[in-house]
């Protein structure tokens, strides 16, 4: 009897995935653990290994197909075995009926906190007018991201327009031979683009830049790095410390640990920090849930593991949403200040910059010190300039006296 190959369900909210690559061909021998196929959601790319042994008898979906999760996409069986006559879909239906199919990848721990309401559930029906849909396609934004203002809760064109970038990118048309290569944007890339564009155009943003004396952080970092114990302290980075400080400070500034949802803002009791990760597949922002309850060490370890999963492409999509504020770090790349884009409906994002030497006056003397830059971008609809500035002030104060913070 042949074994069905099932499109796994990655997280609670994923309803379908795109089958990207078949690593085996029909008729080819497959061993347990062999890389069988790859697929992607709009948030991540995954590889799937075989759990069965035999010959790939049949494939039911082609590369590029969008496949509902838990659907049978192929069959593995004995050499020479005929694929069953019955519609292979029956497997899927039977599976669904009994709901016995185990999640293939249980390696990723379940999120601890109750996930907050997701920004957008894949497959959610969004009411949008035909004009809004057309416009969205024309200007390349996702109408599902728009906040509806039309009758009967419909997304209408002006809502889509609000997602549109103010300055259209200049398109240079190549006339002659191709001096370039074209690649289809991956679904994840498109989604990132849509979100960025939406955020960029819809939100009246303000960015405040500041810096602080990172002497104490650097000292601590040096000490931790030298730690040889098994406690994982040696891996604590400057970024982890900033994240730690943010998680302890931001609750005093609830308008920044919030979602702006049309008419209301949702202020969160806990801090779920989005951590921007630059991967080969593009920008990913896993969520470090309940950051305010985690020790510096746990912060470091968990974030490290999430970053790794992002690079490997096997992060649970449930971890790619639900953040209440985001920290993005371009410091290692030498950036001194920037204006990061807010992940809607969050109200702010903190950019962590590189360290530059600055002078400060002390007793009539100029003393050099390592200054670490911070760029806070916030949604001016939800946060006032002074509120943002106060947050930065408290944060930099805490970072400059980081050891005191650790004692709290």
């Amino acid at each position: 009897m042949a074994t069905p190959i099932i499109m796994p369900k990655q997280g609670q909210t994923v309803e379908s995935c795109i089958l990207t690559v078949w690593h085996k061909q029909v008729g080819e021998q497959v061993f347990e653990g062999d890389l069988l196929f790859s697929y992607e959601t709009d948030k991540a790319v995954f590889d799937e290994e075989s759990t069965a042994e035999g010959v790939l008898l049949e494939i039911l979906f082609e590369e590029g197909d969008e496949v509902p999760v838990l659907t049978t996409i192929g069959l593995i069986g004995e050499e020479g075995e005929q694929p069953p006559e019955a519609d292979a879909q029956a497997f899927h239906e039977a599976d669904q009926a009994e709901d016995t199919h185990p999640s293939e990848k249980d390696a990723v721990p379940k999120p601890i906190a109750d996930p907050v309401e997701p920004v957008l559930r894949d497959g959610d029906r969004v009411k949008a007018s035909p004009r809004a849909r057309r416009l969205a396609a024309e200007i390349g934004v996702d109408y599902r991201q728009a906040s509806p203002s039309g009758a009967e809760g419909r997304v209408v064109s002006q809502d889509v327009l609000a997602l549109k970038p103010q300055v259209a990118p200049e398109i240079v048309e190549e006339q002659d031979e191709l001096h370039y290569e074209e690649m289809e944007l991956s679904r994840a890339r498109k989604l990132i683009g849509d979100r960025m564009r939406a955020s960029f155009s819809e939100v009246p943003r303000v960015t405040l830049n500041t810096s602080f004396d990172a002497s104490e952080l650097l000292d601590l970092r040096k000490k931790l790095k030298a730690d040889r114990s098994e406690q994982g302290l040696s891996g604590v980075t400057l970024n982890d410390m900033v994240i730690y400080a943010v998680s302890r400070t931001i609750l005093n500034h609830p308008e920044l640990n919030a979602h702006l949802l049309g008419e209301k803002t949702r202020l969160f009791r806990d801090v779920h920090l989005g951590i921007a990760v630059d991967t080969e597949r593009g920008l990913m922002v896993p969520t470090f849930f309940d950051a305010n309850r985690k020790s510096l060490r746990d912060t470091s370890v968990e974030i490290k593991s999430m970053i790794q999963q992002c690079h490997d492409g096997n992060i649970n999509p449930d971890y790619l949403q639900g953040a209440t504020f985001t920290v993005t770090n371009l410091g290692p790349l030498g950036i001194e200040s920037f204006s990061p884009i807010i992940n809607l409906p969050q109200t702010g994002i903190l950019g962590v910059n590189s360290i530059a030497w600055k002078l400060k006056e002390q007793d009539g003397e100029y003393i050099p010190y390592p200054a670490m830059g911070l760029s806070l971008t916030f949604d001016h609809r939800a946060v006032d300039g002074a509120q943002g500035a106060r947050f930065l002030k408290e944060l930099t104060g805490r970072l400059e006296t980081f050891s005191l913070l650790l004692c709290v």
Binding site: S129, P130, R131, A132, R133, R134, S149, G150, A151, E152, R154, V156, S157, Q158
Partner: protein, 820 residues
């Protein structure tokens, strides 16, 4: 309303009695021999020939319908065949003295009339005339087919007879080489060059059309008479009675002047074959006993009614000779009860369950073809062999015509497979004809002398602000008047009539000033006969004139349903473009007078293919559209609204005094805007503008208001352009919302502008109720606030707006569920 005629109470209250004169019944009693005084031997034999041709033609169709072949030529003909086997003497007798200028209008059972009238016309025409007709008709296509069996050596008259039989049969079989290119078929075949005018599948339909044709002859002083040929069963039809009455109007004698005075040149002939389909008229479905009796009820002349023996061709010829004389003496109309009998069923599928075999056999004993043939032999005018020879030649002729007509190559069908839209070309004639004739126009005074014109000269033609219309303003009613008056000085054939138009000026004073300008025969009061008014208009224009007729209220459209939907709308296309229909039907949409006087039924004519429908709402548009309607050659239903007869022009700088046209089919942007399109039909324009003001002032929403002006044809481009800009559209008119024309427009916009829409097109019409009293009309007809509510609920939420009416989805579903 004719001040000339004094109604004397003394006379009216005097006692006395009405005396009737006797109505002749089958009083003809001459022999063939006797008729040699009037007819030649050849004539008398030709009568036999013509009857035999019709008999063979109808027997041929009977054979094809019942056995699938005629003399070994197989053919499957699924269409209608209402045969007149047995009735030949009546049609041949009627046609025998008539020529091409005498026009006949018939019924579903008119193959015999076509052939009889055609044969008679051919006999009277010169070879040259005939050749010309055959070469010109449909560019010689029919002649080309006939040439396949008749070469150059055939005598022209013989060729013409073959042409007549073939053109008729090809039409019956739906071939492109038929007289109407196959678009008419058995019940609607005709051939105007021989004076055979449209035959009508609507029982009684021809009576009032023939009346209109007779009006045309009289008013335009044309040669010839007109005959309405309908069955005895049609006396159950209202429009037939309307036609009899209207044709007998006293004014022809009392009020029309000079050469126009006197009766109409029309014979209402009833081929009385004793049955409708199965219902017996005398004794079962009617009370007249003798059909001819009804003439006595119509006018003092009793319509010169007579029953004649339709089984004796000579009796019919004799009657026609006498009656024609009466008509020439302007003593019409005439009513004839032509007794006849059909041997075959109503149609070949009829099992004759409603009559006995004995009855049929008894009539067959009287078969006119046999008895008339015997008469000819008896008086030595032909031998039995002669007659046999005639019959054999006819069989041969019919056989060759059948072979030709069923030949798919020689007699192809209209090439719809190759050109699926071909019929589109026949729906409208789209000509521009300034005048239908070139003679001078008969008027009583010059335009300048007209008191209404003088009054209008004192009015302000320039743009007025909303609500500023008054007696000094050039109003919508003036605009319609002006366009019509001007045309009366251009087209001598133009007539206008309707109820209470002369002296009164029409119920809404549009026609005030026409009475002074026009003689009776161009402008007269019709009886309260909406069906006859419309159908006579149809007959008038398809005979070559131009007419404006009117329905006082739109609500009376039902009274003229068939006449608008089947007659006015259809004859251009059913004639494959041969006939034109330059007929304007003014229809006034009321208010204030309750449920049967306040309805906007624009959707009804707009649904019927073949009609143009307009509904102007401003003086400028009304005049321009009326000018277009009076320049074109297509039937136009011209809606007017009684709410706005007195509005002044609010959009154009002025309403020009001179001639200009507003093209039919072009909507007009009356107010520009960017956020919402409002498309209005008719008088709601002004409420839509009010709504636009409110939207602007209260909600900062900029509405573009488009006045549809026309319904059919309709150029959607400006509307689509507007929707591309605004993304939203609301449609409004005074018609009840369900199945109104707005729904059609909304659907079309949804389809054509789907990707431009930010909200579904929303229709705001009147409630699906009866119209309440005027004081409560605001709860029935669309109001600006309804439009705002609909915008808020269905199109774009308006900040701070709280709707006064229930407009939710649920309400809508519940109402629809209850049929409300």
């Amino acid at each position: 309303m004719a001040k000339k005629l004094f109604i004397d109470p003394g006379e009216m209250r005097k006692s006395g009695q009405i005396d009737f004169s006797s109505i002749p019944v089958n009083q003809y009693n001459k022999t063939v021999q006797d008729e040699l005084e009037n007819l030649s031997k050849e004539d008398l034999v030709r009568i036999y020939r013509d009857m035999a041709i019709i008999r063979e033609f109808e027997e041929m169709l009977y054979a094809i319908k019942t056995t699938g072949e005629y003399r070994h030529t197989p053919y499957d003909y699924p269409g209608p065949a209402h045969l007149s086997v047995g009735q030949e003497a009546s049609v041949v007798g009627q046609a025998f003295l008539l020529d091409k200028d005498d026009l006949i209008f018939g019924s579903h059972r008119s193959h015999g009339e076509i052939l009889a009238k055609g044969l008679s016309a051919i006999e009277k025409m010169t070879a040259q005339e005939l050749t010309q007709i055959m070469e010109d008709y449909l560019d010689g296509t029919i002649l080309a087919a006939v040439r396949r069996i008749k070469d150059g050596t055939t005598a022209v008259k013989d060729l013409a007879i073959t042409f007549l039989l073939y053109g008729t049969l090809a039409e019956i079989f739906g071939r492109q080489t038929g007289f109407q290119m196959g678009l008419g078929g058995s019940m609607h075949a005709f051939f105007t060059p021989f004076g055979v005018y449209p035959n009508n599948a609507i029982v009684g339909g021809s009576a009032a059309i023939a009346l209109g044709s007779a009006l045309f002859k009289k008013i335009n002083q044309k040669k010839g008479i007109v005959i309405s040929n309908v069955g005895d069963g049609s006396l159950g039809c209202g429009v037939v009675w309307e036609a009899l009455n209207m044709a007998s109007m006293g004014q022809f004698r009392e009020l029309w002047d000079g050469e126009y005075q006197g009766g109409l040149p029309i014979i209402f002939n009833f081929f009385n074959n004793q049955y409708g389909m199965g219902g017996q008229t005398a004794g079962e479905t009617m009370g007249f006993d003798f059909l001819a009796r009804i003439g006595a009820g119509i006018n003092p002349e009793q319509m010169h009614a007579e029953r004649i023996d339709g089984y004796n061709p000579l009796a019919v010829i004799d009657a026609m000779r006498n009656k024609r004389q009466l008509l020439e003496e302007k003593r019409g109309p005439v009513l004839l009860d032509t007794v006849t009998y059909r041997f075959a069923g109503h149609s070949p599928s009829d099992s004759s369950s409603y009559r006995t075999k004995e009855e049929i056999e008894a009539w067959q004993q009287h078969d006119s073809l046999v008895t008339y043939g015997l008469e000819l032999v008896r008086f030595g005018l032909a031998t039995e062999e002669d007659l046999q020879g005639i019959r054999e030649a006819i069989v041969e002729l019919v056989q060759s015509v059948v072979k030709l007509a069923v030949d798919e190559d020689i007699s192809p069908r209209m090439d719809l497979p190759g050109d699926p839209d071909l019929i589109e070309r026949f729906m409208f004639s789209e000509q521009r004809v300034e005048k239908m004739d070139d003679r001078p126009c008969e008027v009583l005074i010059s335009r300048e002398e007209n008191p209404r014109v003088q009054q209008i000269q004192r009015k302000l033609r320039t743009k007025v602000e909303a609500g500023q219309s008054g007696l000094r303003t050039f109003q919508l009613r003036d605009a319609i008047f002006e366009a019509i008056l001007d045309k009366f000085y251009v087209d001598p054939t133009l007539v206008a009539y309707g109820e209470d138009v002369r002296d009164w000026g029409g119920a809404f004073a549009v026609y005030r000033g026409l009475t002074e300008a026009l003689p009776y025969h161009r402008f007269f009061n019709a009886p309260i006969s909406e069906a006859a008014i419309v159908s006579s208009g149809v007959g008038y224009v398809l005979s070559g004139g131009r007419a404006i007729i009117e329905l006082m209220y739109c609500d009376f459209l039902g009274r003229a349903g068939d006449e608008v939907f089947n007659q006015m709308a259809k004859w251009q296309a059913m004639s494959a473009g041969e006939l034109q229909m330059p007929l304007v039907l003014r229809v006034s949409v009321g208010s204030k007078y309750g449920a049967q006087h306040s309805q906007d039924w624009t959707a009804l004519p707009a649904h019927i293919p073949g009609l143009k429908v307009v509904f102007p709402a401003t003086p400028y548009d009304a005049k321009g559209l009326m000018n277009s309607a009076l320049m074109g050659t297509d039937p136009v239903i011209f809606f007017e609204s009684q709410r706005i007869y007195d509005v002044g022009e609010m959009f154009r700088p002025e309403v020009p005094e001179g001639y200009y046209e507003v093209p039919i089919g072009e909507p007009d942007v009356k107010r520009e805007g960017t956020d919402l399109t409002i498309l209005s039909i008719g008088a709601t324009l002004y409420r839509a503008l009010k709504a636009a003001d409110i939207l602007e002032e209260r909600y900062g929403v900029s509405a573009e208001v488009i006045d549809a002006r026309s319904l059919v044809p309709f150029n959607y481009e400006p509307v689509l352009e507007s929707v591309a800009k605004t993304g939203r559209i609301l449609l409004t008119s005074d018609a009840c919302e369900r199945a109104s024309y707005l729904k059609e427009m909304a659907q079309t916009v949804s389809e054509l502008a789907f990707d431009d829409l930010d909200a579904p097109p929303v229709v705001v019409g009147a409630r699906n109720w009866i119209t309440p009293a005027h004081e409560l009309e605001e709860f029935f007809f669309p109001q600006p606030e309804w439009m705002i509510d609909a915008v808020d609920a269905k199109i774009m939420p308006l900040e701070g707006h709280s709707p006064k009416r229930r407009v939710s989805r649920n309400t809508q579903i519940i109402r629809k569920k209850s049929g409300l």
